[in-house]
């Protein structure tokens, strides 16, 4: 089954070190479409990441920094990147070795398809 996000997700999951990518509703934290490797708990990741992204956006707005463009979490065993527009968030789960710069460009480019 394909969705309007299938091509976008396919291009992100191809990056070396990416273990999962999802399009998630920002307000409800539910997965719209995803491409995940075995072992990634997509539902939990989507809910928690959307919540963090929403709060980061509110924090940035409260600090007068304007809109949040790109959000990255760097942990011991991996990375999580998120970028959103129009109530949708692209979430990428990756290994520490992933090329974040390239991933960031790809995610911001993908956001343009969200209108």
């Amino acid at each position: 089954m394909t969705s309007p996000f299938t091509t976008l997700l396919a291009s992100l999951i191809r990056h070396r070190g990416v273990t999962g990518c999802m399009v998630v509703g920002e307000a409800d934290g539910m997965i719209v479409d995803s491409s995940l490797q075995i072992g990634v708990n997509g539902d939990a990741f989507a809910a928690l990441t959307a919540s963090m992204y929403r709060k980061a956006r509110r924090a940035a707005a409260a600090a007068g920094f304007g809109a949040t463009g790109f959000f990255e979490l760097d942990a011991e065993g991996g990375r999580m990147c998120a970028a959103g527009r129009n109530d949708l968030v692209i979430v990428v789960v990756a290994e520490p070795r992933v090329n974040v710069g390239l991933l960031r460009v790809e995610m911001l480019k993908a956001l343009e398809s969200f209108g």
Partner: protein
């Protein structure tokens, strides 16, 4: 906001759910509408009303699920403009309970689902002293309901 329980074994799972999911209101009840624990309600009348409506809605949606899908619906979500409602069945070794919760944009449906699943997992293994799923006898129902409300709102 204060969490209060009529049965001590529901306290830890309910507290964890409320703390993690950041909900405004939560009530755990058995299918006959008797309250076992609540968070966020100010009066016993509100709890009683919420329990009666939650039990009735669960019974109706379960039957609707059987008609439509051959098995009862296990969860129900309603999104209002400001607040949202989630109603879910909590399976137990000796029957089931119902969780009724209200949340706003501090939380999300995804978070409520996530921590509801954790609540189900932590309650699943518990065998309460008296099985809560057993419907109360008609002559005992009001007495039991009033006893639970009195315990939670300090009138025992």
């Amino acid at each position: 906001m204060k969490l209060s329980v009529a049965e001590h074994w529901v306290e830890a799972p309910l507290k964890q759910f409320v703390d993690e999911a950041r909900v405004e209101l939560a009530v755990l009840l058995n299918p006959s509408g008797q309250v076992l624990g609540q968070f966020g309600f100010a009066s016993s009348v509100d709890v009683m009303t919420a329990c009666a409506l939650a039990a009735a809605t669960t019974a109706s949606s379960a039957e609707l699920g059987r008609q439509v899908d051959g098995r009862p619906f296990s969860g129900l979500h309603y999104a209002g403009k400001v607040r949202q409602i989630f109603l879910g069945r909590v399976p137990m070794a000796t029957g089931s309970l119902i969780l009724f919760t209200v949340f706003n944009d501090e939380s999300s449906l995804g978070l409520v689902h996530l921590f509801f699943a954790e609540l189900c997992a932590s309650v699943a293994g518990i065998v309460p002293p008296e099985p809560p799923a057993t419907p109360a006898l008609a002559e005992d129902f009001e007495r039991e309901l009033n006893r639970n409300l009195a315990v939670m709102f300090g009138r025992a």
